[in-house]
């Protein structure tokens, strides 16, 4: 359902500009009828005047991933939009997936651990650091890291480009190479993402720890460690998993920006280039695919949620 909804929004967004074919037609040098035909063919789902059949074609094309051709020549040897996306998507999925999982794995335990430090000075330090990091925009952190680690000390490569086959057909050397190139962008994403999880988890832990059943557990002689891990953490995860859905969209936007800065040839770079060049077919296809990824991640959350809290049934 969400997918169709995204399609409607994309349509309205791109069509508010008017008929793209006509716009492009006037920007070309030779205004001939045959030229218009060619342009329309390239535009794929965006082609044609605004009309009902055209709208239906749009739907059909989008849902079958026929995004048309790239308007301004081949991108890395891919003439069709879907080809370009095919080449770029693995990078982004890698970044997004690893950052989401690692951010979670680091953030939650760190949040639980911070709640251990109740009332200590170190708690304040951790919270201040986390809040600071969490409120830095992705691009600022990315640029700082890029300048220092890649530009200044040359620890990591200046360009994040590496063959996509390192990801799609992994060999040991290939994975090493991919890791070498992707480590910095992933670290940037994970740093910010994990801090977000840390803060939510800590806040949730603190409120759960004030509940009566925690006092009862203490009275039962449950060791403090088990109280934190078994009694408090699972209850505290309810708000965290609710927030996760939003977090995915946020992280995806971060992945896109970070890719541009580290010149990883993923969806972010693809989108960025196409937007700058008014390459609207690529922009549209790219946005659609990214939305699909986020929607998919989003629907996973519901399952996790139901497992955590038995009260959630409806």
């Amino acid at each position: 359902m969400l997918v169709l909804f995204v399609l409607v929004i994309l349509y309205v967004m791109f069509r508010l500009l008017g008929n793209p074919a006509i716009l492009i037609f006037y920007s070309t040098k030779h205004h001939t009828a045959s030229e218009l035909k060619i342009i329309e063919a390239e535009l794929g789902p965006l082609a044609g005047p605004i009309s009902f059949p055209n709208f239906i074609y749009y739907f059909k094309d989008m849902l079958t991933f026929h995004f048309g051709d790239s308007l301004f020549g081949a991108i890395d040897g891919h003439q069709t939009v879907i080809g370009a996306i095919d080449a770029a998507l693995p990078y982004t999925l890698m970044l997004f997936g690893i950052a989401a999982v690692v951010g979670f794995i680091i953030g939650l335990p760190a949040g639980i651990f911070t709640s251990f430090l109740r009332g200590k000075k170190s708690e304040k330090a951790v919270i201040t650091a986390a809040t600071l990091l969490n409120s830095i925009p992705f691009f600022v952190l990315a640029i700082i890291v890029y300048i220092y680690v890649a530009g200044y000390y040359h620890i990591f490569p200046l360009r994040g480009t590496f063959p996509v086959t390192d990801l799609t057909k992994p060999t040991i050397a290939g994975v090493e190479n991919a890791f070498y190139h992707l480590l910095m962008p992933i670290l940037v994403l994970v740093a910010i993402e994990a801090m977000g999880h840390l803060l939510t988890m800590r806040a949730a832990m603190v409120s759960v720890l004030g509940e009566d059943f925690i006092t009862t557990a203490r009275a039962k002689g449950v060791p403090e460690k088990d109280i934190m891990l078994h009694h408090a953490a699972r209850n505290a995860m309810v708000p965290v998993s609710t927030r996760m859905a939003l977090e995915f969209a946020f992280l995806m936007s971060g992945a896109v920006i970070v890719e541009v800065i580290f010149t990883v040839p993923g969806m972010g770079t693809l989108l960025y280039d196409s937007t700058i060049k008014d390459n609207i077919t690529v922009a549209e296809g790219g946005l659609f695919i990214i939305s699909l990824v986020v929607i998919f991640a989003y629907s996973l959350v519901d399952f996790i949620h139901a497992w955590i809290d038995p009260r959630i049934k409806v």
């Binding site: 109740r118 009332g119 509940e211 009566d212 059943f213 006092t215 009862t216 557990a217 203490r218 009275a219 039962k220 002689g221 449950v222 060791p223 403090e224 009694h231 699972r234 209850n235 955590i308 809290d309 038995p310 009260r311």
Partner: protein, 708 residues
Amino acid sequence: MIETVENKSNIENEMLNVKNFYVNFETYDGIVHALDDINFTLKNNEVLGILGESGSGKTTLATAIMGLLPENAGVKGSITLNGKTYLRENDFNSGKKLNRKQLKILDQNLRNIRWKDISIVFQGAMNSFNPVYTIGKQIREVYKLHTDLSDNEIEEKLLKTIRYAGLNKMVINAHPHELSGGMKQRAVIAMALALDPEIVIADEPTTGLDVITQAEIINQLKALKKQGKIKSMIIISHDIGVISQLADHIMVLYAGKIMEYGTSRDIYLNSQNPYTVELLKSYPSIKNAKKHVEGIPGTLPDPINIPEGCIFYERCIYHDAICKQKEPDITYINNEHYSRCYFASKLTEKERVNTDIDGEPIIGTEKKVETKDLVTYFDLKKSMAGSLFSNKERVVRAVDDINIEINRGEILGIVGESGSGKTTLARTIIGLIKPTAGEIIYNFENTNININKIKQRSKEYSVFRKNTQMIFQDPYDALNPKMTVYDIVAEPIIAHRSTNNPGEMLNMVKSTLKEVNLTPPENYLERFPHELSGGERQRVATARALVLNSELIVADEPTSMLDVSLRAGFMNLIKNLRNKNNLSILYISHDIASVYYLSDKIFVMYLGVGVEYGDSKDIVNNPLHPYTKALIKAVPSPTPDWNPGNIDIIGEIGNSINVPKGCRFYDRCIYKQGKCKNEKPPVQKTGTHWYLCHFTQDELDNIKQYMK
């Protein structure tokens, strides 16, 4: 029986010893003195009751014994269990931080004691279970932590404890939110008994439960004590009735200090402390006929700046000049009974003079309000979502065919468990809910008003509105926090355009405030609700209801949120107002003792129908309907030698949806016979006293005889 327990406990050695014990909390406002010089011994097999108003430090003491004080707590003194001191000075003192190793040792010590030696049932059992795990898992956890039984053995023990607490094994696999309040409370008790601890601490184990459930829990605890499942116990409550049922010794706490300590008998019958005496006097009891009860005006002293001298000085009617100067020491009356008062053992009965009830009620013969076959249903199927999602009848028969009348100057009390429809009836009478069927006829300002026949905006309607006012249950919710007391009380005047003259309005407000004993009224006019105590708020709410000189006041559980020491005062206020102004009052409560104290007539409700009605004396001394009998039996009476035995009722209150076709009470009645199921019972009447049942009293007695 009490005597024998005493003798036995004298011989046996002491179980728990609390010595020179102090607890302070560091807060932003200053240091809160929560407990001050607490000394007591709990002997083997003894039950100690701790009595006190809320805020007197009862729960702090319980958590301290468990070693569960929060981190901002500082401790002096020691607690010893079985000769081993496990908590001593500095262990918690926030001044000196313990190093890691000491902390670990302390933690280890406490962890071994917790639950195995001392277990606790916390106040508010509703929240004692972790919502994401099943009950079974949480009880099993106790065994896993403290024993090395095999899984099978654990299952066996688990089943046994669950049975002890009077539950069936279904609850093992239930999540907490699937159980009713009473069942959860039993499950908590089961968990507390799982390891056969030496001491069980029960902190307000029945607060928030209905009378009948409360009586059942008390019975269960008594039975467990008798069987030896519970060895020693500390029971904490603000309710003397509950404590009297279980305790051998009673400790009265006030503002963190022990005011009096002694055997139950000594405390009840021979109290030597003004606070205890006053507290006992403030309980209305169904045994004490309609003996005058008296509250304790004022509040606990500020725990941050405890005043010089006796802590009870401000509220004490026995006080003398010396009380203000120096704090009294404890005085022993006998070797098991002491009191913290200069005049212990010299106390003479003294009555407060200023709050005597003024005048006698003049109960008129004209009816102020009368309902005829009043019916209020809530039909969930009426709403769109309701009709889509309900596959069966979902009608709540909250009020089903009720006929009541209140004469001028009369107080009618309505009792019943929660869910019996009392609030709905009140709201229907006051016009907040439209009745589904039936009539309500009012007689105000000498005009008859039929609620079905008047139109909004008509003159009759505004007369009706003006003369019906309500006092709500929760004084914290009922007052708008952004309005001053003046605005709150003046609101009805403005709404009914009684006067436009600001001077006159001010006078009306002032005199009403004076009437509800908020004196001098000038001090209250500009204050906001959050600056008032609970008792004062309820008085402001009362003033708002009175300011228009309305003829009918409906009060829905007005005292249930007030502290015990304030309830009596509030009830006396209502009595006074009635006598002075000839008001008609509908007084609603689940507490039959307070209804008895206040009302002239009592109407007993069960699942939307009235099951018995009569003079309050008749109802309490000679209850006829099986439900009323159970209700009255269930009220714990504040005398030590009183035994409710069996309360003769089955289960918990049901819902008013799938009501039995015949008698509403069928599912819970122990007298039920074949015909009760399908035939509606008739009204049995003697004079004005009637009840709704197929059988006469003789027949009911025979049925009971036969059952035995």
